[in-house]
Symmetry: C2
Subunit: 360 residues, 2 copies
Amino acid sequence: MITVNVDLGDRAYPIHIGPGLIDNTACFAPHIVGSSIAIVTNTTVEPLYAERLRLALAPLGKKISTVVLPDGESYKHWETLNLIFDHLLLERADRKTTLIALGGGVVGDMTGFAAACYMRGVPFIQVPTTLLSQVDSSVGGKTGINHPHGKNMIGAFYQPQAVIADTSTLRSLPPRELAAGLAEVIKTGLIADADFFDWIEAHIDALYGCDEAALIHAVRASCEIKARVVATDEREGGLRAILNFGHTFGHAIEAGLGYGEWLHGEAVGCGMVMAADLSVREGLLDGPARERITRVIEAAHLPLQAPDLGEARYIDLMSVDKKAEAGAVKFILLDGLGRAKITGVADAQVRATLAASTRH
Amino acid sequence: MITVNVDLGDRAYPIHIGPGLIDNTACFAPHIVGSSIAIVTNTTVEPLYAERLRLALAPLGKKISTVVLPDGESYKHWETLNLIFDHLLLERADRKTTLIALGGGVVGDMTGFAAACYMRGVPFIQVPTTLLSQVDSSVGGKTGINHPHGKNMIGAFYQPQAVIADTSTLRSLPPRELAAGLAEVIKTGLIADADFFDWIEAHIDALYGCDEAALIHAVRASCEIKARVVATDEREGGLRAILNFGHTFGHAIEAGLGYGEWLHGEAVGCGMVMAADLSVREGLLDGPARERITRVIEAAHLPLQAPDLGEARYIDLMSVDKKAEAGAVKFILLDGLGRAKITGVADAQVRATLAASTRH
């Protein structure tokens, strides 16, 4: 078992990474203080792992209940969140009840937000079962739900007590979801660590082939890099925004197609190709680097071409992005491989990238 | 103008108290950083004060929009909160948009919670226009909404940039609402400052008669005491819970009758009589002190007798109180006038207080 510590002062927490951790009672024990536990999961993950998790928790002698949500980004809204609140109130959950998020990013985001809001804050533990959630949503404390007018528009910064990333669960992932997770792994290398990007480039086939050693390394390195960025800037005042590389375009794709049509990681994969293109147009990145990025994203079986939503719709969708301020959209671009830069960009350049990247 | 500082480190903020502050541009100016402002108010307060507030803000040169919510505790739920989110998204509010809560406690709690959650946190200013919200909900950062199974069950601790308490607005309050606010003033004296309770006892008629000098003193002293308690214990780990004196019974009354039937302050007024009775039964308070408390609450035109919900229903409602833990309800009792104590109480004593306090 490997442990990455996310250093956030009195909100610091460990990420444990390794095979079979879901069965490891000792891994959970130090992080559960109250007398009851509510496991939050979804209809897909529940039959795979809920019983194993309950067995691992049983020796702790706590009251354990489970709430099962519908599966999918399209359910990441208030009504589903309210199922968690209904459950907690019916179970008489108190201020020390620990919520355990068992599932992917959607379950993690909603459980974390429910934990942030229930009685103004109860403890929670993340047990991410997808690559995307192990490398991305498990670090940084971003929680929330979607609004019809924007993704993750309603939420909170709220840190878990611990993240327990069982890499064995990744074997149950459909290839499309594995690829979506690889998008965030690639992103992490691109924005902050050129050596890690080189390593990804050399191991992309092993990663897509679900090689466990390669996956453990990728999860660990991604979490370490992200933890470093988040520790510097917990509430996204500045640096942390670089983690949104590929997300401005990506969010527009997701919102434009309707959430759930493309997976988040697929939209980010394509969004990174677009952001790399924009970086070249701005003179920050050279053509061969963009080509390497495109080839790695392609090898991860992620989409390279954006859906044709129309230029006006893209511009409109991007202007409500959370990074926008007083109507001006800021982009995260690559200032060479392994280095990100946040900057405003002339509209004409954005339009050129949209024209070059869109499937017609 | 009097200023009380709430000392919460990097979340510290001032409470400005005085007549006519709603028209005072300079009072607002230092606390608004972004380029837009969203005023959140309700159908009752909007015609009274919204235009004056907009006139005061106009010289700041910001984009100003207003969202008007239905008035009343019965609307303090997700659907109304979502009206704020809809408005913010339609207005393209960004991460620096300042929300201004113009109204009483319900508007303040919902606006604060909306500010806590919109894009995971935007700045907000409270302009409380009721006595209850000036002395109570404006200090301490408690925000939230009700759930059908419990009051304020969904929320966040989130501090405003500033509170601007215009005491002239109290003249527009219906007497019943003024009385409800006096309940929290009385509570503050009872739990933390016997001298202040003596002062309240001597000035209760002036306060109920809306004497401005008396009201200013009461708001200032209440905010100072509450700010001291909250600064010691921002997230209600211990001491802060004493601010809930009268609230365990009070919340049960509100929930049992249906929110909105009794005003919050009315329920707290009656709840304090009940908690004083329980304090006597526990040997913590003497009979004459209980009598003084009852007389002051009566002089504030607050109810002294609890509605007859039935003993079982009271016990049931109190067991989901946020102060409950592992099913055991804790009570805040008076250990003499001006001093509170948090303690478990034998069921028989609680039943005796219910029997003695209920209207049959």
